[in-house]
Amino acid sequence: MSPFRAATLPKRMARASRTLVVTGAAFMAAGLVMPGGTTAPARLISAAGEASPLADRLAATGILLLLAGPAVGLIIAGGEFFRRGDRRMALLVFCELLLLALGAALGSR
C-alpha cells in the first residue's frame, strides 16, 4: 500500500462528510424557514415522504442526510481497507454496518 493511497482515505471521508453536512444543512434550513411544519415527533422516513408538509419533508431529508454521514464514512473506510487487503478491518467495518442495520430494524419493531 503506497503512502499516497493510505493518506487518501481520510481525505475521501472528509470530503463525503463535508458534502453531506452542507447539503443536509441546506435542507434543514429550508425546512425551518418554510411555514407549515410541525414540531411533533415523527418517523424520519415517513416524514420525508409525500404525505407530510413540505417543511417537514425538507427538515427530515436534511436530518437523514446528516445521519447518513457516519454510515457513508464507514462504507468508504471499509471499501478502502478491503482494497488494501486488510480483511480484518474490512470485516470489522462490515460488522459495524450490519449492527447499524440491526439497530434500525430492532428500533422499528
Binding site: P3, A6, A7, L9, P10, K11, M13, A14, R15, S17, R18, L20, V21, G24, A25, M28, A29, G31, L32, G37, T38, T39, A40, P41, A42, R43, L44, I45, S46, A47, A55, D56, A59, A60, G62, I63, L64, L66, L67, G69, P70, A71, G73, L74, A77, M89, L92, V93, C95, E96, L99, L100, L102, G103, A104, L106, G107, S108
Partner: protein, 270 residues
C-alpha cells in the same frame, strides 16, 4: 409542560444548539452534555425527547469537526473503528432500553454524569496530559507516530460510552477522551480528533434507533443541528481569544447548576 411550539420553534433550539456547539468545540466535546439539560430545563421538553434531539446535534458536531480533523490527518481511523465496534453495539442497546428506564432514574443518571463531568473540568489538567500536547500526530502516510496501548480497556470504556450515548443523548467523548489520553497513550490532539470522529458514529447509531421509532421532533432537531453547526464554527474561530481555564470553570458551573436542577426535577412527581 409547555409545548416547544409555544417557545419559538426556530429560535430556542437554534440558540441551545449554538451554545452546545460553541462550548463543545472549545472544550473538545460533542455538546450533548449541555444540550440535553438546556432543552429539558429551558425549553421544557421531556427528557427522552431532549435525548433524541441532542443526538442529532452530536452527529452534526462530529460531522463538521471530523471533516476538518480527517483532512489534517489527526484522526486515527483504525483505532476509532476498532473502538466503535463495541460503542455502536452499546449505543443501540442503550437507545433500545431507554423506553423501559423510568424518567426520574434517567434524570438522576444524567445528573450524576453531568456532575462528574463538571468536577472533571474543574480539576487542573494532569502534567502527563499537558506534555502529551506536544506529541506528534500520525504521520501523513496514515501510520501513527505512537502505539495505542490497553485496547481491551479502551473497548470496555467505549462500550460503556455507547450505552450512555443511547440513554443520555451524548456522544460519550467525556469518557473516551480521558481513557485514550490517560490509559491508552494516545496524544491529546489525536485523542480529541479521534473522539470527535467516534462520537458521530456512536450518536448516529443511537439516533437511528430514535429516528425509526419516530421519536425525533423534526423542526426542533433541525434547529439544534443548524445551531450546533454555526456554534461549532464560531467556537473554532474564537478559540484563540478565550482562556481555556476560564471557559472550563464557567462550563463546570453551568453543568453543576444543570445537575442540581435535574435532581430537583427527578424528585418531583411527573
Amino acid at each position: 409542560m409547555p409545548h416547544p411550539s409555544a417557545l419559538g420553534p426556530l429560535l430556542l433550539p437554534l440558540l441551545i444548539g449554538a451554545a452546545g456547539g460553541f462550548i463543545g468545540s472549545l472544550i473538545g466535546l460533542g455538546g450533548g452534555i449541555l444540550i440535553v439539560p438546556l432543552l429539558t430545563l429551558s425549553a421544557g421538553l421531556p427528557l427522552r425527547t431532549s435525548v433524541a434531539i441532542s443526538l442529532i446535534g452530536v452527529v452534526a458536531t462530529s460531522m463538521a469537526g471530523s471533516s476538518r480533523y480527517l483532512r489534517r490527518g489527526l484522526v486515527d481511523v483504525r483505532l476509532a473503528l476498532t473502538l466503535e465496534s463495541v460503542s455502536i453495539a452499546g449505543a443501540i442497546a442503550g437507545s433500545l432500553v431507554i423506553p423501559f428506564v423510568p424518567v426520574h432514574a434517567l434524570a438522576l443518571l444524567f445528573a450524576a454524569v453531568v456532575a462528574i463531568s463538571a468536577l472533571h473540568l474543574l480539576l487542573p489538567p494532569r502534567a502527563d496530559v499537558v506534555s502529551a500536547e506536544d506529541t506528534l500526530p500520525p504521520k501523513i502516510d496514515g501510520s501513527p507516530a505512537y502505539t495505542a496501548k490497553s485496547i481491551p480497556f479502551g473497548l470496555t470504556v467505549s462500550a460503556g460510552a455507547g450505552i450512555l450515548s443511547g440513554l443520555l443523548g451524548i456522544g460519550g467523548g467525556i469518557v473516551k477522551i480521558p481513557a485514550m489520553i490517560l490509559r491508552m497513550g494516545v496524544p491529546t490532539r489525536v485523542a480529541l480528533a479521534t473522539s470527535n470522529y467516534m462520537i458521530g458514529l456512536t450518536a448516529g447509531a443511537s439516533a437511528l434507533v430514535f429516528a425509526v421509532r419516530g421519536e425525533i421532533p423534526l423542526r426542533p432537531a433541525a434547529g439544534v443541528a443548524l445551531g450546533v453547526l454555526a456554534g461549532a464554527t464560531l467556537g473554532a474561530r474564537t478559540s484563540r481569544h478565550i482562556t481555556a481555564a476560564l471557559l472550563r470553570r464557567i462550563v463546570a458551573l453551568v453543568l453543576l447548576w444543570a445537575a442540581y436542577q435535574l435532581v430537583v426535577k427527578a424528585g418531583k412527581p411527573a
